[in-house]
Amino acid sequence: MARISVQAADFDIGAEFAALTAGHTDIGGIGCFIGTVRANANAPVSTLTLEHYPAMTERAIAGITDEAEKRWDLLGCTVIHRVGRLAAGENIVLVLAAASHRQAALDATAFLIDWLKTKAPFWKKEEFADGAASWVAARDADDAAAARW
């Protein structure tokens, strides 16, 4: 039931909401999270490159949305994750979860992004304005967030 896309192009948030809810009158709430490329005051990121494991990525995301659909009564969910080079301010990821009641929609949204952060095969490389580049390190806080569920 989930819509999953891994793509270089940006996504159209309004169009994704419209597609998720089209023809539904049983939805009471839609949760959403959008992750964006954040510049840092000390070390401005000029670009972020998202690498992934193409043969595995969509399967891994589908495993995560399947789990969300098992845990909550969802009426639909959407995960779009961009790959390739992205500038500061650009969108990285869109998560949408629709349910009859808001708590399920909000919890599923938080669950989906927490698990995407720790269980989908993407890697971020930051390139800074001064020419330096480094792979983003995984954060313990992300593991802890994913382990809450």
Partner: protein, 90 residues
């Protein structure tokens, strides 16, 4: 059942790709290797780049046939084995 002579496809991502200097290589399943952990030890001896990629094995994650795997996961001829750092998407 895969051909017992089918080579392994080894994939490297992120800094493992950079350190090994390759994104993909095809190797026969070594005779004395039956698990991910055994394969890592064998690969680490292939070149200085490979050694550097696997120097901190706790920093390396693995998938066998596109499923997350552990050092004790068994491998078979023809498997696709990917090595990468902890994921950082989202």
């Amino acid at each position: 059942m895969a051909d017992i002579d089918a080579p392994l496809t080894i994939l490297y991502f992120a800094w493992l790709r950079e350190r090994t200097g390759t994104s993909e290589e095809s190797v026969p399943l070594p005779a004395d290797v039956s698990t991910v952990g055994g394969l890592v030890a064998w690969l680490a001896a292939r070149s200085p780049g490979h050694a550097s990629a696997f120097v901190n094995r706790r920093a390396v994650r693995c998938a066998v046939n596109q499923e997350f795997a552990a050092p004790e996961t068994r491998i078979r001829p023809g498997d696709e084995i990917a090595f990468f750092p902890p994921v950082t998407g989202g």
